[in-house]
């Protein structure tokens, strides 16, 4: 298994210095829900504020200074994001509202154009709903089928099943880089190569991967890669769909209106070139600029250092959690996963756990966590999930463990 972490940036991470950038954390909360949405550093908030203060104008159309400045910052973020995923061209970086919209864009635009009756779409049982439901809708509309790769007892994708499905020549294969509940880092390079060998188009859901591992889309070879800003220190409401240029060129627009056209006549419309073809209407300008600042922030610290820090925390959490009797961790061991741990505790419902933890100012996620098929597969109604990021301290994991002991005591 390989990841795209640059080794040159794998220096040790100074957590306390990092934490000073995140004002929210000063409240004292042990925020262990970054896989849900991360915190944002002041650098990101300041970049957004600077847009509003210094050049608040619409982009691409004003023939005046503020609009030019805004356009420069908005398009400057695209260059940062191109470098972040190592796309060949900036035209391959489409701004979206987030991962969900990115996947929907592919399902509606590419899917309607290319998926026919009897075609096969392959995804997995461990996906977030946003990488299942759009395919179900597409399949229903086109008379296609969706098949799901199962997981094994360790929470890893069943490669034998994946390969068997590839023999049926699927049209599209969609899977997460990192599972949002199991934490599993899927072998996304290998899966992409296997799917391509079968003639399929590959979409990788990078929502949980981009913030922690990053990606090199050229090295990976995937056709589409969707991710969200708000899980990687950026603002909510914005994200990116990377698409291979020749695919994007051939696809019809997803939404239509202003800014995505070249010429409009009553007899017909000629679309704008990439990426504007897919960016109809006034965009989330401040948020895009904030997302660019988030990429700068993460790259300055280094994804390698961030991942190493998370690995250390995950190992620490594993050790502490496995000592709690009745606690069951879902998914693979710490070396095969990203910085999140989903678990349950015998006799205490995950929501009660979350409530008890909250009363000790420890924030975790509890519920089906947008993965009902996975919950069914695991045979549980819900799980509790703690997730870590660059600002997480060991001491916060200690507080998690203390809270779980407290829950056991209350429910004993």
């Amino acid at each position: 298994m390989s990841t795209s972490i640059s080794s040159s940036t794998a220096g040790a991470l100074d957590v306390e210095a990092v934490r000073r950038d995140f004002e929210f954390l000063a409240s004292g909360v042990a925020y262990l829900d970054s896989a849900n949405t991360s915190q944002r550093p002041r650098q990101v908030i300041e970049a957004m504020e600077a847009y509003y203060r210094e050049c608040n104008a619409n982009i691409h159309r004003g023939a005046y200074r503020a609009s030019e400045l805004a356009t420069e910052r908005y398009e400057g973020a695209r260059d940062k994001l191109r470098r972040f995923v190592n796309a060949a061209s900036r035209r391959e970086i489409i701004y979206t509202r987030g991962t969900t919209e990115g996947i929907n864009l592919v399902a509606y635009s590419w899917g309607r154009q290319n998926v026919r009756e009897g075609d096969l779409i392959v995804t997995t049982v461990a996906e977030h709903h946003s990488n299942i439901v759009p395919w179900q809708i597409l399949a229903q509309e086109r008379g296609a089928r969706v098949e799901y790769v199962d997981i094994d007892d360790r929470g890893e994708l069943r490669r034998d099943q994946f390969d068997a499905l590839m023999e049926r020549r699927p049209k599209l294969v969609a899977f997460a880089q990192v599972s949002s509940n199991l934490g599993t880092i899927n072998p996304y390079h290998e899966l992409t190569a296997a799917a391509h060998a079968a003639g399929a188009i590959v979409l990788i859901d990078g929502a949980q991967g981009a913030p922690h591992l990053g990606i090199d889309v050229q090295e990976t070879g995937c056709d589409f890669y969707a991710f969200s800003s708000h899980k990687m220190c950026g603002p909510t409401g914005v994200g990116v769909l990377y698409g291979r240029r020749e695919l994007l060129e051939a696809m019809p627009p997803f939404q239509s209106g202003g800014d995505m056209i070249r010429t409009v006549r009553l007899s017909g419309t000629e679309y704008a070139p990439l990426p504007e073809k897919f960016e109809a209407g006034t965009q989330a300008i401040a948020e895009v600029i904030g997302m660019g600042a988030a990429v700068d922030y993460l790259q300055e610290i280094g994804l390698g250092a961030i991942h190493a820090h998370e690995q250390e925390l995950t190992e620490y959490a594993f050790e502490a959690l496995t000592e709690i009797q009745g606690l069951r961790i879902f998914g693979p061991g710490p070396s095969r996963r990203a910085g999140l741990v989903a678990f349950d505790l015998a006799g205490v419902h995950p929501h009660d756990l979350a409530t008890i933890l909250d009363r000790g100012d420890v924030a975790i996620r509890a519920g089906h966590n947008c993965a009902m098929p996975l919950m069914e597969r695991l045979g549980v109604p819900a799980v509790a999930r703690a997730s870590f990021y660059l600002y997480t301290r060991r001491e916060e994991i200690d507080r998690l463990v203390a809270g779980l002991q407290e829950a056991k005591r209350i429910f004993a």
Partner: protein, 132 residues
């Protein structure tokens, strides 16, 4: 850590661990289930109605302590009430009986059994009127 145990008051835990009227009725006059998809909480109730009075009620389900204790408490309250009286049970009544501060995120858990009653028993009352 200083956790305020009052949230999980002794009697709530008691109802959670030893739920009253738990199980199914054979051939109930009405049976209804509600599901809270957010948490995976499930509460179902079976009712036996004699002359417009709830003669017997059982609940089944799974979920957090709040949803299950609330359902257990509800069954105790309901036995012997007329459908008309049961209809009067309000959100506030349920929360008052639980006697704890419920955060907005947990309200749905606390009120799931009330929803079962409302949708289930009101539906029955309507049906009965039609039958007359």
């Amino acid at each position: 850590m200083a956790v305020d145990d009052q949230f999980y008051r002794e009697f709530i835990l008691d109802h959670y661990k030893s739920p009253r009227n738990f199980g199914r009725l054979e051939g109930p006059d009405v049976s209804h289930e509600e599901y809270n998809p957010l948490c995976g909480d499930l509460v179902g109730m079976d009712f036996r109605i004699d002359d417009g009075v709830i003669a017997d009620v059982r609940f089944h389900g799974r979920g957090c302590a709040i949803s299950q204790a609330s359902a257990s408490l509800m069954t105790e309250r309901l036995k012997g009430l007329s459908l008309e009286e049961a209809r009067q049970i309000s959100k506030d009544d349920v929360l008052e009986e639980l006697g704890i501060q419920i955060s907005p995120a947990r309200l749905k858990c606390a009120l799931l059994s009330l929803k079962v009653l409302k949708v289930g028993a009101y539906g029955l009352a309507d049906d009965e009127e039609e039958d007359r």
